[in-house]
């Protein structure tokens, strides 16, 4: 029964497309960071379905934990809205 996990991966991939589009379009940088974190979560699900647990373990702390924190720091130090 490999239909169920692959369907989960397909749904996660479509969700990541939506999240990427919103991250590129939004004028508010903080919203873009949040959408990019949503995209990262979807990718982590894809990695899990594609049988790469090592990558999931390194990708969750890096791309959902540290990178959004660094990006929020960057926005706080520069400017929040795109002119």
């Amino acid at each position: 029964m490999e239909v169920v996990p692959i369907s989960i991966a397909a749904i996660a991939a479509l969700l990541s497309v939506v999240a990427t589009y919103l991250a590129v379009r939004s004028r508010d940088m903080l919203a873009a960071v949040v959408f990019s974190a949503v995209q990262s979560t979807a990718y982590a699900l894809i990695y899990y379905v594609l049988m790469a647990p090592d990558i999931v373990l390194v990708y969750i702390p890096v791309s959902v934990g540290i990178l959004p924190a660094v990006a929020v720091l960057l926005i706080k130090k520069t400017e929040r809205y795109e002119s």
Binding site: S40, Y59, S63
Partner: protein, 140 residues
């Protein structure tokens, strides 16, 4: 037999959806890198782009095994016979792309942090993160 091949077609279709979504993500994030004027937005789009390329490498390492789901590239116990290793090699996914992507993600994070430092310095110097201000002297 017909039912089995129908299932197989469905799996291939779903897998193609995953890969094509990644291709679309590459396009959207590249559009963001090229056209958004803010350096911060370029930075966010660049991280999405690199994540997508890493996902392609993982997708290349995936495989299909007849009548079961492929296993991870980890032996669950110390093998007692040589035949266990042959079975393992027949069901496990490709470990090489995973090993390459693993280091790329952590190194990428350190390089992004350096990039963040450069953008902060840019902002301190020019009081904006808009690139065109520096290019042509005015917001265009």
């Amino acid at each position: 037999m017909g039912r089995v091949s129908g299932m197989s077609d469905l799996v291939i279709t779903l897998y193609t959806i995953v890969v094509l979504s990644l291709v679309v993500n590459i396009g959207i994030s590249l559009y963001g890198v090229f056209t958004r004027p803010s350096l911060v937005k370029k930075f966010i789009c660049l991280t999405i782009f690199s994540d997508t390329l890493n996902s392609f490498a993982i997708a290349i390492g995936f495989r299909r095994v007849s009548d079961t789901y492929p296993s991870i590239a980890v032996l669950s116990s110390v093998p007692e016979e040589l035949s266990e290793l042959a079975t393992f090699a027949e069901t496990a996914v490709d470990p090489v792309p995973q090993a390459l992507v693993l280091t790329a993600i952590v190194i990428g994070l350190a390089v992004y942090m350096f990039l963040v430092g450069l953008i902060v310095m840019y902002y301190r110097h020019y009081k904006t993160t808009h690139v065109r201000v520096v290019e042509g002297g005015s917001v265009g």
